[in-house]
């Protein structure tokens, strides 16, 4: 346990080159993507003088490496630049969108966990029975339905035909919690089902692995009931890989959020970044991708730490 800070420190050190590589990737997009951001933002109104002046203002005429160094310097001081499109500081934009996406993520995870984990356990315990097949089929369906399609269908059914839930929009949870959850129900359900499928399958295979292990045989040889064997001896062990997976799911979640937020007009990260890519709002793209990457790395780290905390062997040998 004494070693935990060292472990975290080590992981963070390793994250630095990863983040640098990501920053180079995103920055080179600026060079790679065709289309002039200034033109894109000008739209119909293209006054060459104004365009030139804007290019100067945002240093877009400088060589990319110089721009990169300048940007990196800013990032080091917590300045991610300003959106070309709205002049808003990127950090502020992120501050606006992050809570939305976090709420979406948490609610989706909630759906994923309450659906995926029990189903996974059931499928593993009832391996090769009809229950297993049904659980598998449900999970596969979750994986196989395109998110955006399910989203559109739900809007049509639940909002338009039945009028049960708002079709889109967003309300901060701090302002109107009820409406906030209402508006997020469908998007998080859509996102959650896909994740639930993945979660279910991993829970199942982790459970199967544990159930066939020697120590479960020992537990059964001790005369423990199936309930004790499954919930106490097996599930906690099976939880370990599932926890790690959840961090990876976070990345999947963000990717899924891109389209889901588009469909449900949830003003989160996904929507922000798609719009930014299409508008060539590079400062936003760079800022958001970096932020996402940091989030992903932090989630991974958190999952690994949790893994260690749940696993006595690693806890000691860290």
């Amino acid at each position: 346990m004494v070693q935990m800070p060292v472990y975290i420190g080590k992981r963070l050190l390793v994250a630095i080159p990863t983040l640098l590589i990501i920053s180079i990737f995103v920055f080179s997009l600026q060079k790679l993507l065709p289309g002039d951001p200034i033109m894109a933002m000008a739209g119909e109104e293209r006054d060459p003088a104004v365009l030139e002046q804007l290019r100067e203002k945002y240093h877009l005429n400088d060589p990319i490496p110089l721009q990169y160094v300048r940007w990196l310097g800013g990032v080091a001081q917590g300045d991610l630049g300003v959106s070309l499109r709205t002049n808003q500081p990127v950090l502020e934009l992120i501050g606006q969108k992050l809570p939305v996406t976090i709420q979406l993520a948490i609610m989706s995870m909630f759906f994923a966990v309450i659906i995926g984990v029990p189903m996974g356990i059931l499928a593993a315990v009832k391996k090769n029975t009809i229950l297993d097949y049904i659980a598998n089929l449900v999970a596969l369906s979750g994986l196989s339905v395109p998110n955006f399609w399910l989203g559109i269908m739900l809007i049509l059914l639940i909002s338009v035909n039945l009028g049960w839930l708002p079709a889109s929009g967003f309300e901060s949870i701090f302002v109107d919690p009820v409406r906030s959850i209402q508006t997020m129900l469908m998007p998080s359900f859509v996102l959650g089902t896909g994740l639930a499928a993945t979660l279910m399958r991993h829970t199942r295979s982790a459970m199967l692995g544990v159930l066939s292990s020697d120590y479960i045989r020992t537990a059964r040889a001790k005369g423990l009931s199936p309930r004790e064997v499954i919930l106490s001896h097996s599930f906690r062990n099976a939880l370990l890989p599932v926890v790690t997976l959840s961090a990876l799911l976070f990345g999947e979640l963000l990717a899924g959020a891109v389209l889901t937020e588009q469909i449900f007009t949830v003003p989160g990260f996904g929507k922000l970044i798609v719009d930014a890519v299409f508008n060539r709002d590079y400062a936003v793209v760079q800022g958001v991708v970096m932020c996402t990457a940091v989030g992903f790395i932090v989630m991974n780290l958190a999952a690994d730490i949790l893994y260690v905390l749940l696993n006595p062997r690693l806890r000691a040998t860290l």
Partner: protein, 289 residues
């Protein structure tokens, strides 16, 4: 009394055993049948007695399914059944080729990283990690935007985005296989790195890669649909299921069948690949031998 007589020699090969297991798994057979069905449709598209998928008809715009047009017509009066069949080509190709790209790049790098370790591993792993930290679809969108919207470019984008998964998987497998005595044995008889990688490591890491590839085909088909949905995939007048959905979403209330069929087709094919992938996983899993 020779050593030979000690045990009855199993006559069948490992591969045929895997094949038998696969055949015994009903759901993977179902998956296989679904895939074969769509592959056959796609392959037979040019010879099937179906209307030209790009032939427009002003008199038959957005007609509901009927005897003349079994699955109805689209916003330009084109026969949806025909477009579905031709679209199957695009969607299946998108799935298979993008995974082929991912495998072709990811596996060699994974082998290099796993086999050599050290600096090679460090660099490859860091880059892989960086790629993984960027959400799949966001990368694909950026790449597709970079390359320009087209089916080929969408496939490249999806392939490149899926590549890190294969690097990571292969690397992990190589690390495991490297522990096997036969690899050390190969070194001890004086084989070079290339020989060991190609003849000792690669053949022994293929099973999980095949499984992952099958499952990734499913993901890639959805990814192509997603990119097409954003207008970055198959371009008109050619059809892919995703681009059909992209158009259909504007006519959801007027012509729901336009969205229904491609949605169902994507669902079926994806579930087919998933079922097959699961079946392969079970069949190739050495633990269950």
């Amino acid at each position: 009394m020779s050593a030979v007589s000690q045990t009855a020699v199993p006559a069948k090969r490992e591969s045929s055993r895997a094949w038998r297991k696969l055949k015994a798994n009903r759901s993977s057979v179902a998956g296989f049948i679904i895939i074969i069905f769509f592959v056959a449709l796609a392959a037979l598209a040019p010879v099937l007695p179906i209307p030209d998928p790009v032939a427009t008809s002003w008199s038959a715009i957005r007609k509901a399914p009927s005897a003349a047009h079994w699955l109805g017509t689209d916003d330009l009066g084109r026969d949806i059944l025909s477009r579905m069949i031709w679209g199957a080509q695009a969607s299946l190709m998108a799935g298979v080729f993008s995974v082929a790209i991912a495998v072709a790049i990811g596996v060699p790098f994974g082998i290099l990283a796993g086999y050599f370790g050290g600096w090679v591993d460090l660099i490859i792993s860091r880059i892989t990690e960086a790629l993984l930290a960027m959400p799949f679809l966001i990368m694909a969108i950026a790449l597709a935007a970079f390359l320009g919207p087209s089916l080929t470019n969408a496939m490249i984008a999806i392939g490149l985005s899926a590549m890190p998964i294969f690097v990571r998987l292969t690397r992990g497998q190589v690390l495991a296989v490297k522990q096997e005595d036969f690899v050390e044995g190969a070194r001890s008889v004086g084989l070079g790195h290339l020989d060991i990688m190609l003849r000792y490591i690669l053949p022994n890491v293929t099973a999980p890669i095949i499984v992952q590839a099958t499952l990734t085909v499913a993901t890639a088909i959805i990814a192509e649909a997603s990119l097409s949905f954003l207008g970055l995939g198959q371009q008109p007048p050619a059809a892919s299921w995703g681009s059909m959905l992209n158009v259909a979403k504007n006519f959801l209330t007027q012509a729901p069948w336009m969205a229904m069929w491609p949605g169902i087709a994507i669902f079926l094919v994806v579930i087919g690949f998933n079922l097959l992938g699961d079946g392969l996983r079970d069949a190739l899993d050495p633990r269950e031998n």
